[in-house]
């Protein structure tokens, strides 16, 4: 469903991705690991379509269509979801109003049945419960005054409602304590199914204790330099990234 071929991308004109290849099939969970500055978050943002993140070569195809030709909202409507590393706060726009607008747009684009406000509220409450987020958060401004952990749970709550075809999680584990990490992992695992692809971008192995990946890739200097199964993550945990990148790094 996701096919990335020789992808080159710049951030504010600085080359970050330098020939990245990756294929994600339905049902697969991929983990992308790598040292800081290797281009992990850039990859997630390029795929979601953030401004200033520009594809300069190669291609990223989502279900056969080039993502470069799609606006961020079109990518979401097509079934792509990015759980942000740093979700922004939007005071004045309530979480519920935001979910309503998002789900209306995405469900309509995907030919799914429209949810009336009662159904929406019921579904949203259930999703909140699943990630251990008080339903009171639905009335608050989007991420407004949320703690780091609450923001991450809010991302997963949205993901549960949006039911994406491909979920990208950008360092969702960063800043989470162990309880929150387990809750978040449980939420993600509940979405695992044969039709859905999941890409986890992470610096640390610990998330992969709870969400066991089918494939692990190591990203360094804008390219995937090694791929393997879940055991690769454990090896990285023991040895760090230095033995692969040729640089000193303590992971």
């Amino acid at each position: 469903m996701l096919e990335i071929r020789d992808l080159h991308a710049t951030v504010a004109d600085k080359p970050i991705l330098k020939g990245l290849n990756l294929t994600v099939n339905p049902g697969e969970v991929h983990a992308i690991m790598g040292p800081n500055g290797s281009g992990k978050s850039t990859l997630a943002n390029v795929l979601a379509g953030r401004d200033n993140y520009e594809i300069t070569g190669g291609d990223a195809l989502f279900e056969g269509k080039s993502l470069a030709d799609m606006e961020p909202e079109e990518r979401a409507q097509a079934g792509l979801f990015l759980a942000f590393q740093y979700p922004v706060e939007i005071p004045g726009v309530s979480n519920m109003e935001f979910l309503k607008a998002a789900l209306e747009s995405v469900r309509k684009a995907q030919g799914k049945e429209e949810w009336d406000s009662v159904t929406l509220l019921r579904q949203a409450r259930a999703a909140c419960k699943q990630v251990d987020l008080d339903a009171g958060f639905l009335k608050r401004g989007v991420n407004e005054g949320f703690s780091g952990g609450e923001k991450k749970r809010n991302e997963i709550m949205q993901m549960l409602l949006m039911e994406p075809k491909l979920a990208l999680l950008d360092e969702t584990d960063s800043g989470l304590d162990i309880d929150a990490l387990q809750t978040v992992a449980k939420g993600v695992n509940s979405l695992r199914n044969p039709e859905r692809g999941i890409v986890l971008v992470t610096h640390y192995q610990r998330l992969l204790d709870y969400i066991v990946p089918d494939f692990v890739h190591v990203l360094s200097n804008g390219q995937i330099i090694k791929s393997g199964g879940k055991e690769l993550a454990l090896e990285l945990e023991q040895k760090g990234y230095g033995w692969l990148t040729g640089e000193e790094e303590s992971a």
Binding site: R50, E73, A76, V93, F98, A102
Partner: protein, 403 residues
């Protein structure tokens, strides 16, 4: 002859024809109409008045009256009282007290020619329902009217007034509103704008806190071809409290010039102002927030905030706090900002499938939502929410003014 002199000559001729009292005529003779270089008018050109706007209205009918927001409604049409339904405890008469603090030549002119409508709330009376004062005007040709409304709350009175404007055609509404409060009075005041974009408005609001009183004012404004709001509060007795909140929106080529002035004349009073502005297309807005703390007004606590959002590069907002403080023992905080929609917030909404234009609208509404949520009367909030959404989507709300 300069435009200023032309306007003054015509205003004087109108006043003489009207048979104004000699005192009012003298005041008008002494007033100077703004020239291009007059500091207080530097962002508002009066050129729009050059094509006969100081003529009287001869033809024009209000085709889309305002919806009633209360069972108690007072209607002024082209400056004259045309209807009133009032509860016990509110006396409508025309025996107007002198209005303090009027400064602009237009307000002085209004004083010379207007037939004032006075709403007086009896002492120690609480009026539950708001008084909805509909001030409407319609003129086919460029012409003007001079509504003058004075709301007086006697000792211990409590009331809500909704001052609501509507105008059609080429009307200029030259309005004066005075809110006078005695000791222990509590007034909630709304100033709502539902005038068509092609009309003009020059309005003055005087808040005269003669007694230890509390006034909460909510001002929701869109721009028109020319709109000027001079709001002056005289905080005149120790212990008085004034809160003013507002939203102003200018789209397309509309214009709004807000000149706020809070005069702290005595010790130990509080004032708080929170205004938010939005400008899109070639809209132009001005906000001048003056706080004047007089000698001897120690222990004053005055705050002012004006945050603004530019929706695109062609829009313009000029905002300036202006503090004049003759005291050491005061607390005075002010802040004004002009910014643009946050690209990160917009991307976040879009990344969840919300189309760019809708995302912008949600963020713009979100920017002023805090003030919208603060409106204490449900019926006003219900009017204001679609009104603001319509302003942000550029659509006319159902049942309201047509372009």
């Amino acid at each position: 002859m300069s435009l200023a002199l032309e306007l003054k000559t015509q205003a004087l001729a109108n006043a003489r024809r009207h048979g104004s009292e000699s005192e009012a005529l003298e005041a008008l003779e002494a007033a100077s109409f703004p020239e291009r270089k007059t500091e207080r008018w530097k962002y508002t050109s009066l050129q729009a008045l050059a094509d006969g706007h100081l003529d009287g209205i001869t033809s024009g009918e209000v085709s889309q009256p305002l919806p009633a927001l209360s069972e108690f409604v007072v209607t002024l049409t082209n400056g004259e009282l045309t209807g009133s339904t009032l509860p016990d405890g509110v006396n409508l008469h025309h025996d107007a007290p002198a209005v303090n603090g009027l400064e602009t030549p237009f307000a002085i002119y209004n004083g010379a020619v207007a037939r004032p409508v006075v709403l007086e709330v009896a002492a120690n009376t609480r009026i539950e329902q708001p008084l909805h004062i509909q001030i409407q005007a319609a003129s086919e040709a460029p012409a003007h009217c001079n509504p003058r409304v004075i709301v007086k709350l006697n000792t211990g009175a409590e009331a809500t007034v909704i001052e609501h404007y509507h105008a059609e055609g080429q009307a200029l509404t030259n309005a004066v509103t005075a809110l006078i409060t005695a000791d222990n009075a509590q007034l909630t005041h709304y100033r709502l704008q539902g005038e068509e974009a092609g009309t003009l408005h020059i309005g003055t609001v005087i808040v005269d806190q003669q007694g230890v009183s509390k006034v909460d004012s909510y001002q929701l404004m869109t721009g028109n071809r020319l709109r000027r709001n001079d709001v002056r509060a005289l905080v005149g007795k120790s212990g008085a409290e004034l809160n003013m909140k507002g939203i102003f929106v200018v789209r397309d080529k509309s214009h709004v010039d807000n000149q706020m002035c809070v005069e702290h004349m005595v010790p130990h009073c509080e004032s708080d102002q929170n205004f938010k502005g939005l400008a899109g297309e070639s809209g132009k807005a001005v906000f001048n927030g003056r706080i004047h703390i007089h000698p001897g007004a120690s222990g004053t606590n005055a705050e002012l905030s004006n945050k603004n959002l530019l929706l695109n590069p062609g829009a313009e907002i000029n905002t300036k706090p202006e503090l004049e403080i003759y005291n050491d023992d005061v607390k005075c905080a002010h802040g004004t900002t002009v910014g643009q929609l946050d690209a990160g917030q917009q991307f976040y909404l879009q990344s969840r499938g919300i189309p760019a234009a809708q995302a912008k609208r949600m963020l713009s509404l979100g920017f002023v939502n805090e003030l919208l949520m603060a409106l204490p009367h449900q019926q006003v909030a219900e009017w204001a929410t679609p009104w603001l959404e319509a302003e942000l989507t550029h659509k006319q709300p159902a049942g309201d003014t047509a372009a």
